[in-house]
Symmetry: C2
Subunit: 204 residues, 2 copies
């Protein structure tokens, strides 16, 4: 079966497939066009819906506009990521809230006592927060693309340094930094190979 045959089994509109998955690319440069507060809110209003374990939604977002805050962030980026983080119109620090359990009475009202269960298990809580926030980062990156913007996710930064710099008063653990904006000049590298189905999938 070719990729074209496979696409026919996808009921999602072909333009939507291209916008979120098959044509979308990680951008490495951006134009100066600002990303508005309304766009950020629209991205969240879409990304908030897909599922998390017990509806816990541990993803937290620090949006870093150009200016003094951006300079504080850039210092914690690895050298190869500093120039693009410094120049992107918007940067998001995506983090897991290891104290997500405080919201359980709101988000999982059918079992509010889960808050107290988690209160006694900080290690299990952090592990659960990291996994479910990572799922939500997947949703968030596609929601950025749904807003007609490009995302540039970067794992190369000092997470402990970022947490100390921005989250000293809370229990957020930074996971990924994402540049956001309209793609600029020479924004794209060549697409790297994807693994074949038979390298990834097995059956019983």
């Amino acid at each position: 079966m070719t990729s074209n045959d496979a696409a026919a089994l996808i009921t999602l509109h072909p333009e939507a497939q291209a916008q979120l998955f098959s044509d979308a690319r990680t951008a490495n440069s951006f134009t100066d066009e600002p990303v508005t507060d309304e766009q950020l809110r629209a991205i969240y209003e879409l990304a908030k819906f897909p599922p998390t374990a017990a509806n816990t939604q541990p993803l937290r977002i620090l949006f870093v506009r150009p200016g003094e805050g951006r300079e504080r962030l850039v210092r914690h980026m690895s050298e190869g990521n500093q120039a693009k983080t410094g120049s992107a119109p918007m940067v998001a620090v995506l983090a897991a809230d290891a104290d997500f359990h405080e919201f359980i009475p709101k988000v999982f009202p059918i079992r509010p006592e889960m808050r107290d269960h988690f209160a006694g298990d900080p290690e299990g809580r952090e592990q659960m927060a990291r996994f479910n926030a990572a799922l939500q980062i997947g949703y968030f990156l596609l929601a950025v693309r749904a807003a007609g913007l490009a995302a540039g996710p970067m794992g190369g930064f000092d997470a402990a340094g970022v947490d100390k710099e921005f989250f000293a008063d809370r229990n957020w653990k930074s996971l990924l930094v994402v540049n956001i904006g309209k793609p600029g000049e020479n924004a794209w590298f060549d697409r790297l190979p994807r693994l074949d189905y038979d390298e990834v999938v097995t059956h019983v």
Copy 2:
């Protein structure tokens, strides 16, 4: 700003927004209609595209059809998940390959020597595999919806037991079990509340 205003800033087609994000729901029952091998392949051919760190793509998938393999899986599910896992037309065990570095010469040919760097760091490798596979699970769940199917992700299972049962000969770490199919009778619970933008987002 209302959710309707926010939606206007999303360039993704409204039907696609609904299919992947705002109307889609976690299914708790399924019809008997089989999920075909061609559908599974089409889902992967979409889910493979969005980004992972250094293009590592550590997500691995075990598809479990009804039959003897399914019975072996159900034994490791928590009690509340056994009936629906037993009856879903298709079940996916989603796992992180902690030996993803073996594929680096293929997926990151610009720095094939990264394979040897990772070979000496099994702990960092497993952490990176778990995070990036979780991102890919986010993409996978939306790709299931893109195929016109419903997903029912479940964290309630014995991961060590599943790994021993199915992955004894490889370094895969199971992260999530997902029922897949057409939604059945009474498939939906009421939607649980989502966190507000101001509960999740902060700015500098």
